[in-house]
């Protein structure tokens, strides 16, 4: 065994300032309901399947050329622990020379995996990396193993509701009385219907990798589509659901995402490297931002993070033609839309439906948003910019702004630098 790296580039890139970063490709497992199809399937097996499919779909990229593997999980124990980024890379059959690490930013884990490896590519320390996220909420119930510091409550550092996500969603309804339960239910029903339509049009299936499901009682199965959607949902039906977080509250199982299992992954690369390897470029990263808000209204997080990201790159919300926002709760999406003056049923927002229908396996959802946006970019070459955004527990938001390579004005950064693309 040789101890020297045999994958060093022929020409040293010592002088590269900022590289143009592209989203090469993304895939995900179908999402399952906690306790459902994946009840006896391991979390690491889910994300291993995603990594292998990414490499299979992109034969131009040799496994040894992957510079790093970042994998997110909100609960980092058991089959989501053991330095998941490294252990899943080994399980996926990547060579031992490929390093890996784990990432955690709760719901924005996969998004943070993407922005972190993208940053490493942008500054030129990596050429190609895999970012992924997984959450098996059936095996790892939300909050499992947490040990909150007693100071949080003793010193009133956070509202007691801050650790119950449903309660923070109720808080948002309180803060913005215009966000009614009726609007939330209508939005939720529309999410279900848009998802059903996207499935009918074959927009979701191409980026799903069928996953074998283990059941000791029933034998092996194969999950090929998301398990959670309820296409028959009606606003009337939603109105009858109980409000588990508060008597006479507004947040129900119907206008929130569920408890889900699933994994997502993406290849992130320097644009010139993607071109040189003949890899697809589905989106180009413009910028990203994370921002904090009060933990008791964590759903408001996407508002400041999106504003911050727009400010970074000098774009305005009017220039954003497509928005993929995670639907942890309908009310949190509505708060975002109201802030930016966008209608509840605007076709630019979650055109393929969202987490209320397909589910929200916490740390994996960020890349699902990107997969959807990439699909919509392909169908809408007239749109130049889009964004993916999501709220994060303990009061944060994350936003990534993307450029559409299918747009006629798009100019590839052939020398790899951002300046070349400007």
């Amino acid at each position: 065994m040789t101890l020297t790296a045999d994958t060093a580039p022929a020409v040293p890139r010592t002088n590269r300032s900022l590289a143009s970063v592209v989203f090469v490709d993304g895939v995900r497992t179908p999402f399952g309901k906690a306790g459902g199809a994946y009840a006896e399937t391991r979390a690491d097996d889910l994300v291993v399947r995603v990594i292998r499919e990414l490499l299979r779909r992109n034969p131009g990229l040799a496994p040894a050329e992957v510079d790093d593997v970042a994998i997110a999980a909100a609960t980092q124990s058991g089959d989501q622990g053991m330095l998941l980024g490294r252990s899943a890379a080994l399980l996926a059959g990547l060579p031992a020379s490929v390093p890996g690490y784990s990432i955690d930013r709760w719901c924005a884990g996969a998004m943070t995996a993407v922005t972190t490896v993208a940053a490493s590519v942008a500054v030129g320390t990596n050429d190609v990396a895999i970012a992924a996220g997984v959450e098996h909420m059936g095996r790892h119930p939300i909050g499992d193993g947490l040990d909150p510091n007693p100071r949080f409550l003793a010193e009133r550092l956070v509202d007691p509701a801050a650790l119950s996500m449903g309660a923070t969603a109720e808080n948002l309804h309180d803060q913005f009385p215009a966000l009614t339960k009726q609007r939330a239910d209508a939005y939720a029903a529309a999410s279900q219907h848009r998802t059903a339509k996207a499935y009918a049009n074959g927009l979701i299936q191409p980026d799903l990798v069928p996953m074998a499901t283990r059941s000791a009682e029933h034998g092996w199965g194969l999950l090929t589509v998301d398990e959670p959607p309820r296409p028959d949902t009606t606003i009337e039906g939603l109105a009858k659901l109980r409000t588990p977080f508060r008597p006479y509250g507004r947040v129900t199982a119907g206008n929130s995402s569920g408890l889900n299992d699933g994994a997502t992954g993406a290849i992130i690369a320097a644009e010139d490297v993607a071109i040189a390897h003949g890899l697809p470029r589905k989106m180009r990263m413009v910028t990203y931002a994370f921002a904090g808000v009060g933990p008791e209204v964590m759903g408001y997080g996407p508002v400041p993070s999106t504003q911050k990201a727009l400010d970074h790159c000098g774009l305005t919300i009017d220039q954003i033609g497509l928005i993929e926002i995670n639907e942890a709760f309908a009310v949190q999406v509505l708060a975002f839309l109201d802030h930016f003056g966008i209608a509840d049923d605007d076709e630019r927002v979650n055109p393929m439906g969202g987490a209320i229908a397909v589910g929200h396996p916490l740390a994996s959802s960020g890349i699902r948003l990107m997969i959807n946006l990439a699909r919509s970019f392909e169908r809408h070459p007239e749109v130049r910019y889009g964004l993916t955004t999501m709220c994060i527990g303990l009061g944060m938001g994350g936003t990534v702004i993307w450029e559409n390579p299918h747009h006629p004005d798009y100019r590839p950064a052939l020398d790899g630098s951002l300046a070349g693309a400007a």
Partner: protein
């Protein structure tokens, strides 16, 4: 029972269920996926008894009743496909009719996989043996996981034939020559199995996928086949004269190994031969008849008994103290650097990976011993079996010196010096001065009294016999001999070390030559007696051919070395002159330094004229020199007598330990059941002892 299974469940059958799931075969349509799962973890692989067959039959009913399916596929629980028929149940089959029904039931159920009007797939996700592989062979297509699972048709190894379709389907798929490899040669070659890539190379399976997402990729491939996107190309099978030639060669090869002592290889050859032209129904009917005959034969029953000894009893030796009593062994001493000692040092080094120190009185011999071990390390590294890092580690652990004082700190010291009681006594007395009072002192003696070696020792309780067989790396047995003083901790340590060395150990009383050598010497004495009395060497030597032993007596003497053989024979003769014949001609051979009575220079065993010139051949006390049959009868009688004595003396706890010892220590074949089932079968035990060693049904067809 079900429509196609006409046998009641075996008592206590661990039933392999067949779960049916309707899945979406991506881009192709709905398919039925059958999972075979006995509900146990990977340490207990799935097998098929009558209830398991009925479960599969019911699953196929369910598939047949589902409309609109485009394919049916069958796979196993995690890490295991299916390892064949439930052998534990065969002991319960007492009538040929039931054996025949079991054979027919397997065919009836498996054949349904091809009659469903849709393509059938087997996804071999792990071990697939015997009936397990046959299930897969009945399917139209096969995928295999590149994981660690092995596949094969080991039936002939046990004394059966692949009678659930394998003897017909496999040659039809891959040709007679390759099929003979899988069905005849591999089973008779230490039951060799195929790795996934080998199975792919032979054409047993159509495609191999990585283990990581084997099932998903198999389903994707199956969808491609169903859609017509993937075409499966298989090599044309040559049904010309080459077919019969291949079978004839295999038949001859097997006969040379077994001398007809087990009927299975011949029956399997018959079936493969007929597969060239027989139609499917006729071929399957012939398989049924062969299976029924063999199941009702004592050779198979003895084999199953042997299999159980090796699989179970060898892993849980009887009369062994709790392993928790064992002392930690982190440093080993080997006294002596001779041929046996250096092999022991290498084994300890390789398996325990702890410091191993060797001493010898002679610098040249010490250097030779150390050099030999280092050569072994280099050879293993050269063959890629050891990484350079591991090789460096082992080299660093090996030391040697001329001083026994350097054994201070050793937890276990084993001596392998000259087989002289005074020498060994002096070694142990010297060792006591250097090692801790709890260090285990072991002897590798093959024929001396361990008890006598403890005379005068302050701590005789830590002395134990650990008898290895030559060649040490290959022979799987060790005999652990306790003296009246050996304590539990010492015994537990010896067994724990044996297990770590990957040897099977049996507990024996400290008695002359323990088990294996005592029995071998007793019958070798009868062979040499016949030679001395005028029976031609070749005649005496082939007298035991009908047993199908791994080597003839004359070749066994050559393997052990005439010097060692004579030494042990002399030891035994001096103690029991009435029973252990001491051949003067064996002494002459040993003193001559010739390696064998035979000269192999022509490629065939011919009595070496130079050796024969040394021999002094006399005459029997009365009558003519003994014939083959007479010698065989005497040898078996001698064995039956000696076995009886060993049981009376309590050398081992049970007769099963003697059989296990002969299987693992002397390589005696499964179809003899080790030894006592054959002594019972041949009538020797009743003739000599007046009774059988084992009741009918234990290792024979029930009465």
């Amino acid at each position: 029972m079900s429509a196609h299974v006409t046998v009641p469940p075996f008592p206590g059958e661990v039933v392999t269920q067949a779960h049916v799931r309707i899945i979406d075969l991506p881009g192709a349509g709905p398919a039925a996926l059958i999972t075979l799962d006995n509900g146990e973890d990977h340490s207990r692989p799935s097998t098929l008894g009558p209830a398991g067959l009925a479960a599969l039959d019911a699953a196929i009913d369910e598939v047949a009743a589902t409309s609109g399916l485009v394919a049916v596929a069958i796979t196993g629980k995690p890490f295991c496909f299916l390892v064949g028929a439930d052998l534990t149940g065969i002991g319960h089959v007492t009538e040929r009719g039931a054996a025949l029904a079991m054979a027919r039931s397997g065919h009836a159920v498996f054949q349904r996989l091809t009659g469903l009007g849709m393509p059938s797939f087997a996804f071999i996700n792990g071990a697939a043996m015997g009936g397990g592989l046959e299930v897969a062979l009945h399917c139209d297509y096969r995928t295999i996981s590149r994981g660690p699972g092995m596949i094969g048709l080991p039936e002939v190894f046990l004394g059966l034939v692949p009678g659930w379709g394998g003897a017909y389907l496999l040659p039809s798929l891959i040709g007679a020559r390759a099929a003979c490899e899988v069905i005849i040669r591999n089973p008779l070659n230490q039951n060799r199995l195929l790795k996934p890539e080998q199975a792919l190379g032979l054409g047993v399976v159509d495609v191999a996928f990585d283990a990581a997402d084997f099932l998903e990729e198999s389903l994707r491939w199956a969808a491609g086949v169903v859609r017509g996107d993937i075409e499966v190309h298989r090599a044309e099978v040559d049904r010309g004269p080459a077919w019969q030639e291949a079978v004839a060669e295999a038949r001859q090869w097997a006969a040379a190994r077994t001398h007809g002592a087990t009927p299975a290889p011949d029956r399997a050859c018959d079936l493969i031969e007929a597969a060239a032209s027989a139609d499917r129904d006729a071929a399957f009917a012939a398989e049924d008849e062969a299976l029924a005959d063999l199941v009702m034969g004592d050779e198979l029953r003895a084999s199953l008994y042997s299999f159980d000894l090796v699989q179970r009893r060898a892993k849980r030796p009887r009369g062994v103290p709790d392993a928790a009593l064992a002392r930690r062994v982190t440093r080993i001493g080997v006294v002596g650097a001779g041929l046996m000692a250096r092999q022991l040092a290498w084994l300890f080094l390789q398996r325990l990976e702890v410091p191993v120190h060797i001493t010898d009185l002679d610098q040249a011999r010490l250097d030779a011993g150390l050099g030999w071990v280092r050569d072994q390390i280099a050879e293993q590294a050269g063959r890629g079996r050891l990484s350079e890092r591991e090789a460096n580690r082992l080299r660093g652990l090996l030391t040697g010196s001329l001083s026994i004082a350097d054994f201070a700190g050793a937890d276990l010291v084993i001596e392998a010096v000259a087989e002289e009681i005074e020498v060994k006594q002096r070694v142990f007395a010297d060792l006591e001065q250097v090692v801790e009072p709890t260090a285990v002192l072991a002897t590798n003696t093959s024929s001396l009294s361990v008890t006598r070696m403890t005379e005068g020792l302050a701590n005789p309780e830590r002395v134990v016999g650990i008898h290895f067989f030559n060649p040490v790396a290959v022979m799987p047995l060790v005999e652990i001999a306790r003296t009246p003083s050996t304590d539990e901790a010492t015994l537990a340590t010896a067994f724990t070390v044996a297990r770590a060395l990957k040897k099977s150990a049996i507990l024996v009383k400290d008695a002359p030559a323990f088990v294996v050598n005592r029995l071998l010497m007793r019958f070798l004495g009868e062979i040499m007696r016949a030679v001395d009395e005028g029976t031609p060497v070749n005649v005496a030597d082939r007298s035991l051919d009908p047993l199908g032993l791994p080597m003839t007596p004359v070749n066994l003497i050559a393997l052990v070395g005439p010097g060692v053989a004579y030494h042990v024979a002399a030891q035994m003769h001096s103690q029991f002159p009435d029973r252990f014949y001491l051949s003067d001609n064996l002494r002459r051979l040993a003193e001559s330094g010739r390696p064998s009575i035979y000269d192999w220079s022509t490629g065939a065993p011919v009595p070496d004229p130079e050796v024969m010139a040394l021999f002094s051949i006399g005459r029997p006390a009365m009558g003519d020199p003994a014939t083959e049959a007479e010698i065989r009868s005497r040898a078996l009688a001698a064995l039956a007598d000696e076995v009886g004595r060993m049981l009376d003396e309590g050398v081992v706890a049970e007769v099963a330990d003697l059989d296990l010892a002969m299987i693992l220590g002397a390589g005696w074949p499964f179809w003899l059941g080790g030894m006592t089932p054959y002594l019972d079968r041949s009538g020797a035990s009743v003739r000599v002892r007046g009774s059988r060693f084992l009741p009918p049904g234990v290792a024979s067809v029930p009465a």
